[in-house]
C-alpha cells in the first residue's frame, strides 16, 4: 500500500508535467516559476532545518567509541575510531561521510568466508555508496548547463565521467552508478522482510522520485532528444536571473525539471536531511576527551542531593558504634 501511494505520487507528477508542457503558459510556470520557487524552498528549508538543529545544545559529550581509548602511553589508541583530537574527529567524520565507514563495518565478520560482498548488509553499503557518488557527480556535471562558458574543471569531470565511450552520446559512469545504486537500495527495501517491515511511504517516495529523475534524464539523452541549445538558454537564463523561455524544448525536459523541483522542495522536510544531519551527530562528531577536558552543559543546574551532613545526622549513632569516624560527636 505504502509502495503504491509513493509510486502513484511520482506518476502524478509526471502526468502534470506532461500536460503542462503542452501549453506555453504552463511551460512558463514549469520552466521558470516552479524552479525558482522550489529552489527557494530548498535553500530556506535546508538552512532553517540545520539552524533549528544547531539551536538545540549538546549538553553532554557522548561519542560512540569504536576502539581503544587514550589512556596509558604504552597502550595504542584507536585514533580514528575513538578520536581524542580534533583532527581525529575530522578524519572519523570524513571516513563516515565519504566512505560510509559505519555501514562498511558490517562486512567485517564476512571476510573470513572469502567473499567481500555477501549478505544484505554489504549490499546496503555498496548500494548506498554507488548511489551517493553517482548522484554527486551527476549533480556537479549538470553545472555545465548553468554557466557559459563552461569552466574547465566541469568539462574535466564530464570527460572522465563519459570515458567508458559506450554508445553515442556516451553513457555516463555516474548515471550507471546512480541507477544501479538506486536499484540495489530499492530491491533491498522491497525484498528484505525486515527492511520492508520498517519502511514508510517516506522511504519509498524519494527512491521512486530519484529513480524517475534518473530515467527521464537518460530518456532525454538517448531517446526523446530535447533541444539542448534551448535548454541551456533557459537554464543560463534562470541562473543569471534573466529568465527566457525558448520554444520547442520538448516535453521530457519539463517532466525532468518538475521531478527535480519536487525533490528540491521535498528535501528539507524529509529524511533526506540526513545529508545535513550527519555532520551534527553528537555520537560521531565529538572527541572522546571526557575525562581530560570539562564539557559544559548550557542548561546545567546544581543537583539536589542528599548531603553528607544529613546522612551523618541520620546514622551518627550507628556509625559511632561501628567505629566509623564522624564529623560531629
Amino acid at each position: 500500500m505504502d509502495i503504491i501511494i509513493s509510486l502513484g505520487a511520482v506518476l502524478a507528477i509526471i502526468v502534470v508535467a506532461l500536460v503542462g508542457a503542452q501549453a506555453t503558459g504552463l511551460q512558463y510556470l514549469l520552466g521558470i516559476i516552479i524552479p525558482y520557487a522550489a529552489f527557494a524552498v530548498f535553500l530556506v528549508g535546508f538552512v532553517k532545518r540545520v539552524l533549528d538543529w544547531a539551536r538545540s545544545p549538546v549538553p553532554f559529550r557522548i561519542p560512540t567509541t569504536a576502539g581503544q581509548e587514550v589512556s596509558l602511553p604504552w597502550i595504542k589508541s584507536a585514533k580514528l575510531d575513538n578520536p581524542s583530537t580534533t583532527s581525529g574527529v575530522i578524519a572519523r567524520m570524513a571516513l563516515e561521510i565519504f566512505a560510509f565507514r559505519s555501514l562498511f563495518r558490517n562486512t567485517k565478520a564476512e571476510w573470513r568466508s572469502g567473499f567481500l560482498i555477501q549478505g544484505p548488509a554489504k549490499w546496503l553499503w555498496l548500494g548506498a555508496l554507488l548511489f551517493h557518488y553517482g548522484f554527486l557527480v551527476t549533480a556537479v556535471r549538470h553545472l555545465r548547463l548553468f554557466v557559459d562558458p563552461i569552466p574547465a574543471w566541469i568539462n574535466g569531470i564530464d570527460m572522465i565521467d563519459g570515458m567508458l565511450q559506450i554508445g553515442a552520446p556516451p553513457v555516463y559512469i555516474s548515471d550507471l552508478l546512480l541507477i544501479g545504486g538506486l536499484a540495489i537500495l530499492l530491491v533491498r527495501r522491497l525484498a528484505l522482510p525486515k527492511v520492508r517491515y520498517i519502511s514508510l511511504p517516506a522511504d519509498y517516495f524519494p527512491l521512486f522520485l530519484i529513480l524517475a529523475i534518473g530515467i527521464t534524464g537518460l530518456l532525454m539523452r538517448f531517446f526523446f532528444r530535447v533541444d539542448i541549445v534551448g535548454v541551456k538558454t533557459l537554464v543560463v537564463g534562470l541562473a543569471s536571473f534573466r529568465p527566457t523561455l525558448p520554444d520547442g524544448i520538448g516535453a521530457m525536459f519539463f517532466i525532468h525539471v518538475l521531478l527535480v523541483c519536487t525533490l528540491l522542495a521535498y528535501f528539507p522536510f524529509s529524511k533526506l536531511m540526513h545529508m545535513g544531519g550527519v555532520f551534527l551527530s553528537p555520537t560521531r562528531n565529538l572527541a572522546n576527551t571526557n575525562r581530560m577536558k570539562r564539557h559544559i552543559n548550557p542548561w546545567w543546574k546544581p543537583p539536589k542531593f542528599h548531603p553528607y551532613e544529613e546522612y551523618e545526622d541520620e546514622f551518627r549513632e550507628l556509625m559511632k558504634e561501628a567505629g566509623i569516624p564522624v564529623e560531629r560527636e
Partner: protein, 193 residues
C-alpha cells in the same frame, strides 16, 4: 525401496523444509531473517536451528541415539523455552517432520506399500516429541530455578546486617563443622530464618 532409503534420498529437501517450517513459527519478518543469514554469531538462533536440525534429521534416519537426540533438541528448545511460545508450540516442531514426510513422500509410500514403515517412523517421531517435552520442562524449571535464586539474593528480602543468602548458607555450612557455635554466624542464620 525402503522408507529409510527414501528419507536418505530426500534428506536435503526434508531438512530444509523442516527448518523453513520452524522458522515460520516466528513473526514473518523474523522468519526470513532466521533463514537467510548464517553467521554463527550475528544470527545465533538461525544458525543453531540450521545446525541442530541437520544433525537431528541424520540422527533420526541413522542411529537414533536418545542422548544425542535430547542434546540436539535441547539446542533448539532451550531457545524456544524463553521466547514467546506456548509449551505446545515450543515442542510442536518435532511433529512437523511427520507432515513433511507425508507431503513429500505420499506417492512413493503408497506405491511401495510402505505404510507399515511409515507407522514405525511416526512412532519414533512421537517418542522424540516426548523427549522434547522433557527437554522443555527441564529448561523451564531451570528458568524458575534461576528466578528463585535471584529472588533469594534480593537485598530487600534480607534482614539488616546480613549478606547474600546463598553465600551465607554456604559459608554457614562451611563454618558449622569448623567453628561450631561461632556467635556471629549463628546470629545471622537465626535472623535469616
Amino acid at each position: 525401496m525402503k522408507l529409510s532409503s527414501l528419507l536418505e534420498q530426500h534428506r536435503e529437501h526434508i531438512k530444509d523444509e523442516w527448518i523453513r517450517r520452524i522458522a515460520n513459527t516466528y513473526p514473518l519478518k523474523t522468519a526470513r531473517f532466521l533463514r537467510e543469514k548464517h553467521d554463527e554469531f550475528a544470527n545465533p538462533v538461525g544458525s543453531t536451528l540450521e545446525k541442530a536440525i541437520t544433525s537431528l534429521f541424520s540422527e533420526i534416519i541413522n542411529e537414533c541415539d536418545p542422548d544425542r537426540i535430547a542434546g540436539l533438541l535441547d539446542d533448539i528448545i532451550r531457545i524456544r523455552a524463553v521466547q514467546d511460545f506456548s509449551p505446545s508450540a515450543a515442542v510442536a516442531i518435532v511433529f512437523m517432520i511427520k507432515d513433511i514426510v507425508r507431503d513429500r513422500l505420499a506417492g512413493e509410500i503408497k506405491k511401495g506399500d510402505l505404510t507399515e514403515e511409515l507407522f514405525t517412523f511416526e512412532s519414533t517421531v512421537d517418542r522424540i516429541a516426548l523427549l522434547a517435552f522433557d527437554v522443555y520442562m527441564k529448561c523451564r524449571e531451570k528458568v524458575w530455578e534461576i528466578k528463585m535464586n535471584d529472588v533469594m539474593q534480593r537485598p530487600f528480602m534480607l534482614m539488616e546486617g546480613a549478606m547474600c543468602t546463598s553465600y551465607m548458607l554456604r559459608r554457614g555450612n562451611m563454618h558449622l563443622e569448623k567453628i561450631g557455635n561461632d556467635d556471629e554466624f549463628t546470629d545471622i542464620r537465626r535472623s535469616n530464618n
